[in-house]
Amino acid sequence: MNVYTAGSILIFLLGLYGLLAKRDLFKMVISLSVLDTGVNLFLVAVGYGSGGIAPILTDTYPLSVLHFVDPLPQALVLTSIVINLGVTAFALVLVARIFKKHGTLDTAKLWQKMGGEEE
C-alpha cells in the first residue's frame, strides 16, 4: 500500500462520490471519467511498485536483464483508457439527446418523469 496505490484509490473514491452525490447527468459523466482515471492509476501503480526503468529497450538501456518496470499492467491500462473514451463519447451524445428530448438533465426529474410514464 504505497503512495501510488493509496492515492489512486482516493481518486477512485472521489469519482464514486461524484456519481452518488450529483443529480446532474453531465456531472455524473464527469465523475465516471474521474472514477476510470483512478482505476487506471491504480493498475499502473501496481506494476510500478518495485521502481525500475521504463520498459523500452533503447541504446541507453540496451539489455533486457536491466530492472524494468512491469509492462503488462501498462498494456492493460492502454486498452482501458481507450475503452473509457469510447464509453464517455457515447454517454455524452446520449446526454445531449436526453437534454434535447426532456429539456433537463436533473436525474430526480428524469427518473420521476420515467416513473410517471411507467405507472
Binding site: N2, D24, K27, I30, L41, V69, L92, D106
Partner: protein, 86 residues
C-alpha cells in the same frame, strides 16, 4: 517517505483537487476545464511511474480528446436553449 515520493504526493493532491472542482463546480465549462487539468496531472503521474506509453495515451486521449468532446457537446447543448441547473 523519500523526496521523490513527495513530488508524487503533490501531483496526487493536484489531481484530487482538480477532480473535486470538476465535480463540484457550478458552471459546466469550468468542470470540463478542470477535468482536462486532471488528465494532464494523470499523464504526468503515468510518466513519473515509468509508463511513457500510457502517459502519451492519457495526454492525447484523457486530456485532449475527452475534453474536446466534452466541450463540443457542451457548445451543442448551449445552442439548444437554456438548461436547468441543479
Amino acid at each position: 517517505m523519500s523526496g521523490l515520493d513527495a513530488i508524487a504526493i503533490v501531483v496526487f493532491a493536484w489531481i484530487f483537487l482538480t477532480g473535486l472542482i470538476a465535480i463540484e463546480a457550478k458552471e459546466r465549462f469550468t468542470s470540463v476545464l478542470m477535468l482536462s487539468a486532471m488528465g494532464l496531472g494523470a499523464a504526468f503521474l503515468f510518466a513519473w511511474m515509468r509508463a511513457p506509453d500510457v502517459a502519451m495515451t492519457e495526454a492525447v486521449i484523457g486530456a485532449g480528446l475527452t475534453s474536446a468532446i466534452f466541450l463540443l457537446v457542451l457548445l451543442r447543448m448551449k445552442r439548444g436553449g437554456e438548461d436547468a441547473h441543479e
